[in-house]
């Protein structure tokens, strides 16, 4: 707790003494519209679409009707599918709400009282790219601003030395997913490669490879002396002043970011608790970023469509889940210990789920009709499962949650009314939720 305050205080002390020009305008957005529960969001994005039937949504009927193809599962998906494929993984009920969790996820199971499992999410498109666009931006075309950009626009930043919207991904492809779209460019996600542990490998141009700090300061002093002379001769100008300040911020950012991004500064027990995989690094980094005032961290599980298990799904899940499980649960526990879970919303999930019917015999196809996501922290009721899919886990049938509902709820926890968070562009007011979306009131504490 103390550590958190001291780091944040230290970082904010770095940005003291700023004039009201340029950057400061970006500090504040049009929101919040009401008292927020969450100040930050960490989205743990499971690219590819993880399987709900194997992780959070047990379906005994799959075993009973194994290999059969009842009419209710004859839904068109991307690929050609076969009969029902049972999950080999056992489930048990955990926590005060008796929430089902698969044996693959013992650590998440142990923290289930912080988690609300949404078992009835659905999306509109069975192909990765459009579905991913939808969950990132509320639209299947890659043109609208990403949710993180909307949140940056809505709430501004808490720390001038760091971007409000940070993307952690081992690969720089997918830049369109963290676009600002028609929002001002300052709201676009800033990408860092979290598979590295050293800051200057993560952040482009963070380190000056030629000058030490003193040398840099001398060079900057020269530039600023010339800038001030130029400014004096030209007269007051927002751009000239803003750039002088941005240079100072950049100078300090090198140090601030070096500190925040340097995972080697974490005590060994903490690193062990998260693990040392790239995803674990990402989770730990997400915590450090949130702690330093970053609004929105979008963490991609790995490179490419990792959870896209068209074949050998059981083997893949056995290999992949321990890492995801351990780091996700560590993140929840760590945030809680630091008193940050109350103000940080964690969202977990992919662009869709997987089919209860098999593909290639031992795989599962994309399933947009019904899948599982979960949320934790920041005013979300823990220890509950919300909504339900049909008896095979194909289609959400009870308390259905659309992607727009999910977005509306995330914004709501941040104190933003999804109908009021608008931006005028191309002749009309745009929203993250377009003309849809209802806040899922039943999962709010």
């Amino acid at each position: 707790m103390n550590q958190r305050i001291s780091r944040r205080a230290w970082i904010s002390s770095l940005c003291g003494g700023f004039g009201a020009v340029g950057l400061s305008a970006a500090m504040r957005g049009p929101g919040p519209h009401f008292t927020p529960k969450a100040k930050h969001v960490i989205f743990l994005f499971m690219t590819g679409g993880p399987s709900q039937m194997d992780l959070f949504d047990p379906k005994p009927a799959l075993a009973k009707y194994e290999g059969q193809r009842p009419p209710s599962v004859d839904l068109r998906t991307e690929r050609v599918t076969g009969g029902l494929l049972p999950s080999p993984f056992s489930f048990a009920k955990y926590g005060r709400g008796g929430v089902d969790v698969s044996e693959l996820l013992p650590n998440i199971a142990a923290t289930i009282d912080e988690i609300c499992v949404l078992r009835s999410v659905y999306t509109f498109n069975p192909t990765h790219t459009p579905a991913r666009n939808l969950i990132h931006s509320g639209n299947i075309a890659a043109t609208r601003p990403s949710m993180g950009a909307w949140i940056s626009y809505g709430l501004g930043t808490e720390n001038e030395n760091l971007p409000a919207f940070v993307v952690l991904s081992p690969s720089a492809t997918g830049g369109s997913l963290w676009r600002a779209g028609f929002l001002p460019a300052e709201h676009q996600g800033t990408h860092f490669n979290h598979s590295e542990a050293e800051p200057d490998k993560m952040i482009r141009y963070l380190r000056n490879t030629q000058l030490d700090r003193e040398g840099q300061r001398r060079q900057l002093d020269l530039v600023q002396a010339l800038n001030r002379k130029h400014h004096d001769s030209f007269g007051a100008d927002a751009f000239l002043e803003g750039r002088i300040q941005a240079m100072e911020t950049a100078y300090r950012m090198q140090m601030a970011a070096s500190d925040v991004f340097d995972l080697r500064k974490e005590p060994e027990p903490v690193r062990t608790e998260y693990g040392t995989t790239p995803f674990a690094n990402g989770c730990l980094l997400a915590r450090r970023l949130v702690e330093s005032g970053v609004r929105y961290v979008h963490l991609y599980y790995g490179q490419g469509q990792v959870w896209d298990d068209h074949k050998e799904i059981n083997k893949n899940l056995r290999e992949r889940c321990p890492d995801m499980d351990k780091a996700s649960a560590a993140l929840i526990r760590d945030l809680k210990r630091r008193g940050l879970l109350d103000e940080t919303l964690i969202v977990w999930g992919g662009e869709f789920g997987r089919t209860p019917v098999s593909e290639n015999g031992d795989g599962r196809d994309h399933n947009p009709y019904g899948f599982t996501m979960w949320m934790a922290g920041a005013g979300i009721r823990g220890g509950m499962a919300y909504g339900a899919t049909d008896e095979f886990g194909f289609k959400a049938v009870e308390d259905r949650v659309s992607i727009h509902d999910l977005h509306a709820t995330i914004l709501h926890q941040l104190g933003l009314d999804h109908e009021k968070l608008t931006y005028r562009y191309a002749g009309r007011d745009f929203r993250l939720t377009d003309v849809h979306g209802t806040v899922i009131q039943d999962i709010l504490a």
């Binding site: 069975p126 492809t173 020269l222 030209f234 290639n360 002749g427 003309v435």
Partner: protein, 806 residues
Amino acid sequence: MSVHWTEISLSIALLAPTVGAQTAGVELFEKKIRPVLAGKCYACHSSKLKAPMGGLVLDTKSGLLRGGDTGPAIVPGKPAESRLLEALKYIDPQLQMPPSGKLGDAVVADFTEWIASGAPDPREDRSSTPRSAGAQGMSIEAGRKWWAFQPVRELPAPKVKGSEWARKKIDFFLLSQLEQKGVAPSPAADARTLIRRAFLDLHGLRPTYEEVEAFARDSRPDAYEQLIDRLLASPHYGERWGRYWLDVARYAEDNPTSEATNPPYPYAWRYRDWVIEAVNQDIPYDRFVKLQLAADQMPEATRSDLRALGFLGTAPVYHKDARLSKEVIETLASDDWDERVDAVTRGLLGLTVACARCHDHKFDPITTKDYYGLASVFASTAAVLRPIRDIDPETEKRFLWVQQRLIHLDYLEKLMKGEPGTKPDEAAKKAEKFRAEIEQLKQEMESVRGRYPELVKYVAKFGTEATRRRRGDGPPPNEPFINAVYDAGLWVDGSDPDLTLMDYRPGTSRDLPVFLRGSVSSPGEPAPRRFLSVLSGPDDAPFRKGSGRLELAQSIFDDGSPLAARLIVNRVWAWHFGKPLAGTPSDFGTQGEKPSHPELLDDLASRFIANGWSFKWLHREIMLSAAYQQASAPRADGESADPNNRLLWRMNPRRMDIEAFRDSILQASGTLDTAMYGPSTDLEVATNERRTVYAKISRSRLHAILRLYDFSDPSQHSPGRDLTTTPLQQLFVFNSPFLQEHAAALARRVEGEADAGEQVRKLYRMVLARDPSGDEVDLALTYLARGTLPHYTQALLSTNEFIFWP
């Protein structure tokens, strides 16, 4: 069918008997009507619902009056014509409400009385947004009176007191407003500022020290005019102004997601080169646009002009996985058409027609029928590679179809072989069938080997591993093709339950129906290809020639010419002055900002047309004005009277965009490669020292430096760039190898100088095109006592003065 809200309001006002009766009516509403509506109707007919039943909303006053999909719910004063009452009475078996059972006769009597008394309703609307599909902002008739649609005409210069200041006609319009507000214009900028401004403006490069000094010394009265003419005659002008157009045209060389069915555009650069050439040749704007929409249908266009079709041929396209349903594929295709409608209407007409995809435009006089009339043009236009050299039309037409077919078959065959799914036997059979057709089509193309070997070479790769996409590399960009379009309607074939096929029909146009609420599964009335009704005369006929692209282009410059001219003049104004006359350069509809100087815009647009839509004429007209030549320094009196400088009491100071900034760094370091044209080069490559206009522009991976410096998102039309100033940009300035290496190159240019003082003097000339002051030399020498020359040169390149555009 739908009744205008305003008309109803009017009728209420006329019907409203007396104030006393009105009060009684309100009381009746509160006591007898509202409780019934709330208890029996809101559950299905509330504005809080995402999709109120039948589009009918009863919890707002306007909702009640507007009614639902079948018309108004009530007609105030006329119980007999009110459908709500009819429903309550349970007379019509198709219209009985509430469905839970007929309400008592007393309730029906209350409603009858209330409607007869004019249906007073005290409820305030929570939201002014109408929800029904029939809601409409402005009628076509009212729309025809909108300012932006009126003919442009030359206007007499306004009378001003200080006419000696004015140099061009536009100055009179500006000065007239300045005088009304009591603000004086600024004095002329000094010669050194002026030449720098003109160079950056027309070339995106800085003048050399020698050029600056020569200009400062030139005392001829027409020295500045000669400078402008010289700059306009240089090919660097096209590189600068062509790039502005490429923002409008959302130019890029690949797709937002480059997948199997929407691969990159290897010859997009030929479109970029055409734009640069065309701008340098000062092709009249109307022709410039017509060529981009329909060069292949203009008899006088040359084969080389077909490169202009890249405007449509490199437009963003979404991936269409053949395993998706017909409906999904059709939706994706209609997203593609939507993008074209948007780019053409916002880009060329300043109208947000894409707003009318799901419903009539909520503010502007644009209907869904208008929207689908235009979308049909693009549903009848297909993107293809066309040969760059002349070819006989029949062979070409066949080749274009064969090409599309081969791309599709090749994709399908690989899909069936690579991911056969759970019906491997069927998949194998299909793969065989696709393969056979591929071979047959390739065989067919053999017949032109003698005349057009490049076509045979092109088709050879299909059905082989050569078409398998590897990340990052496309076909070689030098093959003799252009990314263009031709007339072929697209139909989506859903006859196979497992594979959705694309059916292109050359020479056949596809007239879409209106898709109700934007859904491809809800076709409404037909929407034949035609121009926007609000801009067309009463005799507006559907397009007849092919896809209608040429007719569309002609309509823009015929019926739409006042709008088209105002729009482009406003854009050019913004590129010169940093701010437009009308604040929303791609929206001249009712939601857009009206121009600060409407007469000036009209007069200039009218003379632009009269002068043959010539950009070079327009540049001269603007740049030779006193307004353009003003100093840009701030002035207290101006700031207080007009802080946003709408009146142009000074020139707007700016910072360089990324093109000018990067090119200027290369120029200062002496490494700028001024070669023009050709395939694009990657900004990531350290040795890339070509002008930024030749950089590879990607929709899927826009280069980090372009993003950092506010480059327009090339996935959609951009009304203009929003220039930001961020700390991450400064990290680039101080820490990037690009800056460091070019600073080092710059330092090497002065290594041979006798002493540090001389080096500093030379560097100031190279970087800032001026001599340093004594202070500046002192600062430099103090720095150099401990710092290195390359770090000093980097500091100079980092200064505000360097990136500033005063």
